[in-house]
Symmetry: D2
């Protein structure tokens, strides 16, 4: 499905179910896509951070992306993360993603390196030139350890390099300034980059982000409760902000499942990813809750917390 | 004026006008208080970061606080910042502030030091015990370089140590989790800390923060346009979220005045504080735009930008 | 004692013994000064970070400094920390320190604020102009959260603003570049700032710093074993680098006492300061091991570790 | 050449010359290996950060490693960096490196992710189990954004997982504590991990690191002047610390070539890598000074600086 510009709506980053050998569980992944599309989402983001992309080999990345594209079957657009350290390596992923049928690409700035903003700009321009697909910049300082400046994003939006921004920086004030610079809630279409999509990676402030004028939301927790995020989104689009905020509050409470693994014993991302996967397993969507090595698995107590959060949010664990 | 619990509304951090010798310009400060109270604000926060508190000697702090208390004349409560490195020094400021008529105190965790959360908890408990005034925790990692955890804030809220939180952390997701833990938008009164006030220090996402359920907002830009923030607040309180967002967008555009000093030549806080002060000077509220030494003054070009931002936001510079 | 330029040798940051009420224990402090001077140190740094300066009220700072000056009785120069957030407040401490007989001042860049390097330069120049004492810049990013650049230090060394640098940045490579820029191990006297003193705050790499050409060392652990650091220094000055390294290794092992408080339960600085103080108590130098509120006291197990470290280093606990 | 334990001496990270198309210039790389081996180095580290490893595709990595292994021809051991985000991807590089003839592997902790120390330990243990080659941990927080704790390194040294540590953390104090824990300058052979090699990545404090007892040094600048680092090393090994320090000072001055690109216009690593490559070009060792895309090339002025630094250090540019 070709991407209409700008991309709008709920676009969850699709988790990658793994089997007992650590390989992509394609049957579970296909069921997850059905769960998401059935929940009403407007797009899918495969091979993102929540998809454990950086834990996957190139072959596993290809398997995961192909599975998502085939299962989506053109019903919603599929964005593909092309996450790697620098331009040449990202470009290789981008060419593969294009071949496998991705509708758009999502790339970060270089990481591991210390890269100047002018070099970051060259990086995105080269990627855009290499592969003829809409390109989203992925701003995720917790992983990349640099922040894309609003000035840089705007420059690359205006010159057509970028089709959009996935903002996982947590800098809501900076995001608001960018949105106003692009024309604001009502002036975007006549602004300097009318087709540019602004997406937030937040799970906890989606109502606020929609009030601020973002086009779409990419919530990891949307794997677990896509219908909840779609209700939140629809309430906001219809101007019923109180309903949106109530739904957001229910989802914030559900998000407490990520506290599952005590920080003293496992990494924060291991705990969040393990919680989402176990929730999907408990809901009967995927077969197992395993995360990629070397992430530590959730303990039984942590899985119990996940189950309690599901029930408290009105989601019935099926197994 | 005694503080009703919980504190709600618009509570600007009051800038401290300085004369040519770097001393507190009390006449200008009194006019600024009139400007703010006349704009409809619900409280005043003296001796905050925006007040350049850490640039002021103890005598200057006393002068500034006395002037604000006297000018406010009981019409709105006055919160006093008691900002210093550790408990004993903060306690001394707290006793002075109580004598000078402050209605509540605002304290950060210790800084310069490397202080453990259990030590931070002891710090706030000692301050609460030392001075019988409502105590707000001021979470401002950009200055203090540690973040107050939601668990710690909740513990100190539930046991009555803290009357509230001024959150300038920029972590909107974490703030939302805290608000939901405290009962959410509709359940706060029956939650674990019913009188606890949650205030955001953001200037750019006030509509979003109010949608999330904060009690009050402490915007530095509120010095320049208090009436704008009061309109934003009132629209939000009446449920007219679109009007709130439109007002927020106007204020976001106005905020561009802080870009005045190019980062290459002066500090970011110097540029923001200089912009607010020059805006107040241009609006005829205070006499001069000077910031405290060693902050570099705004250039003429920067002052021009401030004037353009004022005009674009519908505020007419008078001089 | 007036400061000969450049300052050279072992200059411990003097810990501040506290009594049961948290007040400065002047008798213990005077005995500590004897312990240090008796150990052969070449100077004393009062009111530094290791002195818990930011925990002390202005009165306590004055008491501590006076006690050190009087006990030193001109036998070695006394440097005084003038640690506070910004120029006006630091200047007040500087005037007091001058009155109380300090031989030199040690100041950081502004903190809590976000201050531009040009503003930092103005800060040091103003302090130098305000008080006629040699001024040392204290580069301690773990507390101040900015790093003084080598270019800025050199500028302020060459123009006579700074008499020296106390480098607690841990950036040994950067320090080496500065030393080479100033003329290197043999060319300092004919270099761009011949009287400029470079001091390292390290406890663990003093031999290496002396090999690199620093003039002096300011080791917190030097409170516990001044004679050890003097032996290390003398071995280095005489070119016996193997003896210096052996002594350094003994002191590195002694330093393990700072691991006393498990990080899970107290701040790192609380644990280091508590260990130094308990070591001095066990050695019979000071009366108590208390650190300033709100720092958590060492547990009995931690004190046992301190005692074991002392014995292993050949220092006999006397009580 | 099989690796004798522990690895000792000068082991430069070999830069990867690139041709006009951005491909590995194997002829230049082979000449560089001759330059290094001819300079007396004791080992070669291919595919490290200085080799621009994260800019290279898998094919380019293989080409570079094969070229180094063939050119070294068993005269010195070749360590191969296996730098990638997580275990599965690193493992794939490790298997390739083993096939291509590497004598040892150098791996970082996972990056991009937020990985717990227990997960990092599992990562290294899995890699050691997967490929039967000595494994070095590469501690480079500026790129990986976490620091390997001394406790973790010691645990993995004692249980035989790690053959050594390449420490590019800049934490010289922490490194000294580790060395003392392992037995110190004279007690390593009878310590808890007698065959464990400790290497420093520093270029500027090699004399100090050798005085502290490191086994080897991995200086990027060693590409330009291998003989200088070998002289430094030999002087230190023979106990002539003054000669070592003099040689170090010459190399510190030579290192100023990395200031070539003003930070305002290019990344720091671009400027350092570009300087090393242009120096090698000027010395007639490699054909071109290009760095990998998107790094900005050195300006003509910057290349002039490189030439001046070479001449000042007594190295004659040949072209």
């Amino acid at each position: 499905m070709s991407l209409t510009a700008p991309l709008r709506g709920v676009v969850p980053p699709v988790v990658t179910p793994l089997d007992a050998d650590g390989e992509v569980d394609t049957a579970s992944l296909a069921r997850l896509v059905e769960h998401l599309v059935g929940g009403g989402v407007h797009g899918l983001f495969a091979l993102g951070s929540t998809s454990e992309v950086v834990y996957l080999t190139d072959e596993q990345r290809a398997t995961a992306l192909s599975t998502v594209v085939e299962a989506a079957a053109g019903r919603v657009p599929v964005l593909a993360g092309v996450i790697d350290t620098t331009t040449a390596r990202v470009g290789a992923h981008a060419r593969t993603a294009a071949k496998l049928g991705a509708d758009a690409l999502v790339a970060t700035a270089p990481f591991y390196t210390r890269t100047h903003p002018r070099e970051v700009a060259a990086h995105f321009r080269q990627l855009r030139q290499d592969v003829d697909l809409p390109l989203f910049a992925y701003d995720i300082p917790v992983s990349v350890h640099t922040k894309l400046s609003a000035a840089l994003v705007r420059e690359l939006a205006e010159d057509g390099t970028l089709a959009g921004l996935k903002d996982s920086s947590g800098d809501e004030g900076g995001l608001r300034r960018l949105l106003v610079d692009l024309g604001g809630r009502e002036g975007r279409a006549s602004g300097p980059a009318p087709d540019f999509s602004v997406l937030t990676g937040s799970e906890l402030t989606v109502d606020a982000a929609l009030l601020a004028g973002v086009d779409g939301v990419v919530p990891g927790l949307g794997n677990v409760d896509p219908a909840g995020y779609v209700r939140l989104h629809d309430a906001a689009r219809s101007g019923d902000w109180d309903a949106a905020a109530r739904e957001q509050e229910r989802l914030v409470a559900l998000f407490a499942m990520v506290d599952a693994g005590p920080e003293a014993e496992m990494g924060r991302s291991s705990s969040a990813l393990g919680a989402f996967k176990h929730a999907l397993r408990l809901l009967g969507v995927i077969d197992g809750g395993a995360t990629a090595f070397p992430q530590i698995p959730l303990s039984a107590d942590s899985v119990d917390l996940v189950a309690r959060c599901l029930r408290a949010a009105g989601l019935t664990p099926g197994r």
